[in-house]
Amino acid sequence: MQFTSMILSNAEISPGYWRMRLTAPQEFAAATPGQFVMVRVNGAIDPLLRRPFAVFDVGVHTPPQSGAVPQVYFEMLYRVVGKGTAMLSALHETDLLDILGPLGTGFDQGNADEEKLIVGGGIGLAPLYLLARELVTRKSPVRLFAGGRTRDDILCITEFERLGVECYTATEDGSLGEQGLVTEALKRRLDALKGKATLYACGPDGMLHAVAKIAAQYGIPCQVSLEGYMACGVGACLGCVAPGKGHSPETPDYRCVCTEGPVFESSDLKWGA
């Protein structure tokens, strides 16, 4: 759906990373983990295209005033990387944004009793919070593995902890948690579990590739959330595609990230293509 949304809050939560809360229509409450929105940053033609962002959280707020109507809201977690995100970070409470969404196919939450290991790199945590929340609600054991270059890239860990999720962190410079890659901690956990778990990952390509490899080694299911350069977000432009498992230059096999994804089984994709 397309709607005009009012910004409820917009704050820098870590250097370069922002969290925005926005109003949404009633139907938006049905958004599922892994889905995204396309945000029109302003009404002008620069930036021209909408920008895609994961749904970080969705909820209902009942204002304390008596007789106030409950308001559905959603949140985005974003990193300032260019023009559009810089403009978003300059917006204030009560500013309006044109939103398309929720869009795409999100995470499959699997069966409840198996342990769920969630791996996020930097801003890749954005679609994983709602996932963790839903998994916890379904009584799945959940652990989070969050990696980044420095401590500034490790976002919202307290939020995950508040859900009761056990969190492991690793940074390349050792400023928070273990020094190195968080996939090491992931492998240790998998060894302890004797490889009975489901993986979920979102983050930079290198990390996704590493997690996909680990999943293949341990023979366990793994879902990854991909990025693609999107123009429409609704399956019309075919700009966002990613190579599927059968892909080769001779026999191309492209999957539409905005409709078939952004979440895919890692084994359905071609890695390093």
Partner: protein, 307 residues
Amino acid sequence: MSIVKPDMSVNLAGIPLRNPVMTASGTFGYGEEFSEYVNLEAIGAFVTKGLSLKPRAGNPTPRIVETPGGMLNAIGLQNVGIDAFIAKKIPFVRTVNTPCIANFFGDTVDEYAEMTRRLNEIPEVVALEMNISCPNVKQGGIVFGTDPACAASVVAACRAVTQKPLIVKLSPNVTDVVAMARACVDAGADSLSLINTLIGMAIDLKKRRPVLANVTGGFSGPAIKPIALRMVWQVARAVKVPIIGIGGIMNATDALEFILAGATAVQVGTASFINPGAAQTIVEEIEAWMVANGVADIKTLIGALEV
């Protein structure tokens, strides 16, 4: 006397349109993708993604990049192919009471003609739009739409196998668009649509590489409007068939400018990515503009530019 309901209908080479606003090929999927956001029965017509005999997988990624006021795309004409179009897309088209125009292309003259034959048999397809901005693989890869003789031969081959209105979509990547237009009309085109995308390029300085995997891509969006307007104006003065104006149309003002320049209808492309309801909004805005400006019939605006 004030106008309550202005007449927005136009006739495009025998196809009556309720209004002159259509969607552009490759920017509106097969219609269904947008049905949640647009009332398809509020627009004049919709044009399908470019179709070919066999499905096409398209180009490697990145396929898209934004540039100031525009975007580059190198999708590589990915499409489901004519068989899947008939089996999977036509059932939806049938439910919509709005003319569907099939855009198509081929690698050779024979493929274009075969596509025309196939599309000719589909009752739901009211008109055909030929994308001639494709290389002729049998003639050293020369782009059909950049050589008048080449264009004429492929248009003539398609003309010979259909009675349906045949729209030829012109490439702007030519020295003399009027010569191309004349060649296509002489070969039997019932209408011309222009412009297709301009060939452009973007570079990532940090990586010292082109941004698009295909290196070059088609440039579209508001940045190309002045070029498109100029070409529509030149072509409309030179040929007698109805013209469809395309290029950077974002709002009613843009659309009306094309109509003044000589277009009978317009297509909205990139704008649908930014606002999926763009085409419908433009219809509503044109109507409001006509009421506000006392224009009772849109046909009186076609080519009404005062120079």
